[in-house]
């Protein structure tokens, strides 16, 4: 069984709406044959199959969104004399070190069973002979290959990191799930790779992807098939051996080849569609403005589509798109840029991975959330003494007793007291979602950009534990080992710029959270105490919040609570 997955369609296109399926169960498909019509952001495209065989199972429905790499259908090759002959498909035979995955073994028994292991993930269908990009996390279906850590001929073992991948969320090291000697590497650095895509093959395996790649093999087999069928036809007609074509000669045209082409009025690939009832210039206009003529309802006699029909349809598309855009707030509307080259040399660099995601995410947050930032200051003179005292304890546990680590505990306590800061807003349902868990993200500055690892159940951990966990996560982030799943599930965020400097700033709320606490650099300030100025260490606090949910006074109270907790750590144990 071979799977046909939605292939890469072009730059930045990772999904589309399935307009029409052109195959059905039991139909035979050949490589290159259009099998579906997909509407992407850019156009409606016909997607050709990359596999040949008989369609066994269709996994998508018309009208659905399908993603690049998603399985569209599976084919069975057993009967389709086509590809099979040239494809020795014995995946489990090689890679002796690899314990055969349960599914790799499956092929023979399941034939008798009604259901072959339903969970069998697509990635393992070719057995242990190749390594495919595994699932990386929710909503992550591809990444930019930053660095390959293996080369043909090198040994890999399960768990060994083999590549560095930059996803929208982070740069991660991907470990191998197979053991053996690398035979062929199917990807290049700098390329986009998708979940399920073959990264490399192991020695000894004529793996399935090879067939897909080498069209010539397919071609030869097809010629051969044509020749065989022609021979059979000739013999069936009772012809002499003189007409059996020599195998090394080009196959003659099939009997129908000298027929006048039957479908003269129609064009290859469009047989299924009657021509749209529109004059040629109207059809061209539709194409020029990106309208599928088949979607336009003609108002003329017999449903004829006029130029005006096309324009009206386009206008309706635009209005509905604008409405949808406004509702979702997803449009990257931007005034036109000036021609910077008029003023000097410029370099244009495409926004990759983390930067692109950050830009999108912060733009969404900024345009969705009415932000207000509340400023306050905390006197941490005493806290600093405690910190110095407990630092060795944290160090023992493998962490660093930082202000951020303490802030985690402080915020967790504050969030318990002020649950509206640990919530999200669902405007579509007009509901507030209060979370019964406290997971706090901490912004980490890395050379790839801003990453926010999330510490879970902060309220249930002590400061030493939090310090250790934070140290570990920050290191992972900087070493590009942070998993996307380790950046999910936050309810509140802390960002500390104190290490760099500054006296205050306005952080942007990490949507869909509703508040974020910014810490700046603490400094010695004269503080009026007991009738005189005293030098005290003061930490500036900046709380940005979603004014839709949180009122100014609440924010002031929340931040004051935090400031007081910093000032009197004892409060934590009393109230927190």
């Amino acid at each position: 069984m071979t799977e046909f997955k939605l292939p890469e369609l072009g730059e930045n296109i990772d999904q589309g709406d399935l307009v029409r399926l052109m195959v059905s169960l039991g139909a035979s498909v050949t490589e290159g044959q259009p099998v579906m019509e997909l509407e992407t952001d850019k156009a409606v495209v016909e997607v050709p199959s990359s596999v040949s065989g008989t369609v066994k199972e269709i996994r998508v429905k018309e009208g659905q969104k399908v993603k690049v790499g998603q399985v569209i259908f599976t084919v069975e090759n057993g009967t389709g004399a086509k590809v099979k002959a040239v494809e020795p498909k014995t995946p489990a035979a090689k890679a002796p070190e690899e314990k055969p995955a349960p599914v790799a073994k499956a092929p023979s028994p399941p034939v008798t069973e009604a259901r072959p292991v339903p969970a069998s993930p697509p990635a393992v269908s070719t057995g242990a002979t190749d390594f495919r990009l595994p699932e990386l996390g929710e909503n992550i279906d591809q990444g930019d290959l930053v660095r390959l850590m293996i080369s043909p001929g090198s040994r890999v073992s399960e768990g060994q990191p083999v590549m560095e991948l930059e996803t929208d969320k982070a740069v991660v090291e991907v470990p191998s799930s197979v053991t053996g000697t690398v035979k062929e590497i199917k990807v290049k650095e700098g390329e986009k790779v998708k979940v399920g895509q073959v990264i490399f093959t192991l020695e000894g395996g004529a793996s399935a992807p090879e067939r897909a790649k080498h069209a010539p093999v397919e071609h030869i087999s097809e010629q051969h098939e044509a020749r065989l069928s022609l021979q059979a036809a000739i013999q069936a007609e009772g012809k002499t051996a003189a007409q059996v074509f020599l195998p090394d000669q080009p196959p003659p045209l099939a009997p129908t080849a000298f027929a006048m082409p039957e479908q003269l009025g129609k064009v290859a690939g469009t047989e299924h569609r009657a021509p749209a009832p529109a004059a040629p210039h109207v059809r061209r206009l539709a194409r020029e403005i990106g309208v599928d003529i088949y979607e336009v309802k003609g108002t003329g006699p017999g449903g004829r589509i006029s130029e005006d029909d096309v324009k009206a349809f386009a206008k309706s598309l635009l209005t509905s798109a604008a409405a949808a855009g406004a509702a979702q707030g997803r449009q990257f509307a931007q005034p036109e840029l000036p021609d910077f080259t008029k003023f000097g040399k410029v370099e244009r660099v495409s926004m990759r991975g983390v930067r692109r995601k950050t830009a999108q995410h912060l733009w969404e947050a900024w345009t969705t959330i009415p932000h207000v930032t509340q400023q306050d200051k905390a006197d941490i003179t005493e806290l600093e003494q405690l910190r110095a005292r407990f630092a060795p304890k944290a160090q023992e546990a493998g962490g660093k007793m930082t202000v951020t680590a303490i802030a985690l505990k402080v915020c967790a306590s504050a969030l318990k007291v002020f649950p509206q800061f640990n919530a999200s807003i669902d405007m579509s349902k007009e509901e507030i979602i209060y979370k019964q868990y406290i997971n706090i993200g901490v912004a980490v500055d890395t050379d790839r950009g801003l990453l926010v690892p999330v510490l879970h159940e902060v309220d249930k951990k002590n400061i030493v534990e939090l310090a250790a966990e934070l140290t570990q996560l920050s290191k992972k982030a900087r070493d590009k080992k942070l998993l996307p799943s380790e950046m999910e599930g936050g309810t509140f965020t802390i960002t500390n710029l104190g290490g760099v400097g500054g006296t205050g700033f306005s952080p942007i709320v990490n949507f869909p959270e509703v508040a974020i606490l910014g810490l700046s650099r603490s400094s010695m300030e004269p503080v009026w105490m007991n009738g005189k100025f005293e030098p005290r260490q003061v930490l500036p606090l900046s709380l940005s919040y979603d004014h839709r949910l949180i009122d100014g006074a609440d924010a002031a109270r929340f931040l004051r609570w935090i400031a007081e907790a910093f000032e009197q750590p004892f409060l934590l144990s009393v109230q927190g």
């Binding site: 007609e237 012809k239 009997p255 000298f258 009025g265 021509p275 020029e288 006699p301």
Partner: protein, 474 residues
């Protein structure tokens, strides 16, 4: 637009697809190099196909009519045929047309290189010039318009001038006493017609049960009837089992239920079993171009191959292998290269068989509708009811329109009869414009002409044709 305006494109092959592409590209302001082995653009169509065959078919028709004139009280002596002069007239036509294209090419400042091209990579061609020497040139885009060539059946290949393909048949070296045409497609029938008029006894064998496979049977029938008179024999369901050269001809062994004499000797044999795409372009493996089943280069609706720098058009990308399809594709490819949003998606491509009578059709055929379970309504107007057909004594013709029964829209048109090839143009326009039966019926057609048959066929649809009484069944 600024990016595309200074592109340098190469067009490989100067046939009707290639030169139409090159000319339009030049008109759009692109830099163009056109490469072809001939001295001037024209390709198979002008040098060895449509044009010379039509010149000869014109003569054939004249001979035929002069014989037929007896019925009208005019009698001519048997024609004396000066083959050399006929040949040179035909060659003159070809020369004038291709020379004209050469001038049009120069006027457009197209760089014309007489030679053959091979790929070095996706953007670079190595061109061996006919005048000697090689040159490597790099282009932004390359359009392949390499056309097709007559197909051969390897086992029937005999290396003798007695076995001809369409190219050598058009050379018209002699008029054989007997000629066997293998393949009852349009090329075999057109050339068979020429040789029959010039005096050969022509036999046609066709493997399938009908001539012109793919065309609607009611269109083929009048032609078949007429050919039964002008040809010595038409053998259907018949295959050629063997061919052997003998001193006085080719001994051919025929197989089939209609065969009376299994072995016959013909002075000459014309093999016209179809055409093969010229996709074996040297160095093509260095590009990402993919070749599909039957040897056609695979392209998308913009005529772009799987190699983004390379486009392909015409016979080499698929059926129908017709010059006018190639030209339209060529222009579409160039517009796509120039950055226009275009696609090759005609509603109808007309097909014409230039036999006597001619057969022409476009859009949906009845055969196809049947096969695809398309519900249709057909309206036929027999030429026996046409005054014009009567005046030229050619009443065997028929015009039919194929309609969508719901919308009454014209989906296809088929015509058999003298001049059908010219009449079909109206049908193509009707299909492209999504004309309704009423539109055609309400359009005044000139009297007395054969074009009235199109209008009257539309009237037949409503049961109100002036010249035939066939009330609508309701």
């Amino acid at each position: 637009m600024t990016e595309t305006s200074n592109l340098h494109i190469a067009v490989v092959g100067g046939g009707p697809g290639g030169y139409a592409a090159a000319f339009l590209a030049a008109d759009l302001g692109l830099r163009v190099t056109l490469i072809d082995p001939e001295a001037n653009p024209g390709g198979v169509c002008l040098y060895r196909g449509c044009i010379p065959s039509k010149a000869l078919l014109h003569v054939a028709k004249l001979i035929d009519e002069s014989r037929h004139a007896k019925n009208w009280g005019i009698e001519y002596a048997d024609p004396k045929i000066d083959l050399a002069r006929l040949r040179s007239w035909k060659e003159g036509v070809v020369k004038k047309l291709t020379g004209g294209l050469g001038i049009l090419s120069k006027q457009r400042k197209i760089e014309y290189i007489q030679g053959r091209a091979a790929f070095e990579n996706s953007n670079t061609l190595r061109i061996s010039k006919t005048s000697g020497g090689d040159e490597s040139l790099t282009f932004d885009r390359i359009i392949l318009a390499t056309g097709s060539r007559p197909a051969i059946i390897p086992s029937l290949k005999l290396d003798t001038p007695r076995v001809m393909d369409s190219t050598s048949a058009l050379d018209l070296n002699e008029v054989p006493g007997t000629l066997l045409v293998i393949g009852g497609g349009y090329i075999g029938l057109e050339l068979g017609t020429v040789y029959a008029a010039l005096g050969s006894k022509v036999s046609v064998v066709e493997m399938l049960p009908g001539l012109l496979p793919g065309a609607d049977r009611d269109l083929v029938l009048p032609l078949h009837k007429r050919m039964e008179k002008s040809f010595a024999s038409i053998l259907l369901n018949t295959t050629v089992a063997a061919m052997k050269e003998e001193p006085n001809g080719i001994r051919v062994t025929l197989d089939g239920p209609e065969v009376m004499e299994r072995e016959q000797v013909f002075e000459k044999v014309l093999v016209s079993v179809g055409r093969k795409p010229n996709s074996e372009i040297p160095g093509l493996e260095k590009t990402r171009v993919q070749i599909g089943p039957r040897g056609f280069i695979q392209v998308n609706k913009q005529l772009q191959t799987s190699d983004p720098a390379i486009y392909a058009i015409g016979d080499v990308v698929g059926e129908p292998m017709l010059a006018h399809k190639a030209s339209h594709e060529g222009r579409t490819a160039v517009e796509a290269i120039a950055g226009h949003k275009v696609a090759f998606e005609p509603a109808a491509i007309p097909a014409v068989v230039f036999t006597d009578p001619e057969i022409a059709w476009c859009g949906l055929t009845e055969t196809q509708a049947q096969k695809e379970n398309h519900e249709i309504k057909v309206a036929r107007f027999p030429w026996a009811a046409s005054g014009r057909a009567m005046t030229v004594d050619r009443t065997e013709g028929m015009t039919k329109l194929i309609f969508d029964p719901q919308t009454e829209r014209v989906l296809g048109v088929g015509i058999v009869g003298a001049g059908a090839g010219d009449l079909i143009a109206e049908g193509v326009l009707a299909v492209e414009m999504a004309a309704l039966a009423k539109d055609i019926a309400l359009t005044i057609h000139p009297h007395p002409t054969l074009s009235e048959t199109v209008m009257e066929a539309a009237e037949v649809f409503f049961g109100t044709s002036t010249h035939i009484y066939r009330p609508k069944k309701s």
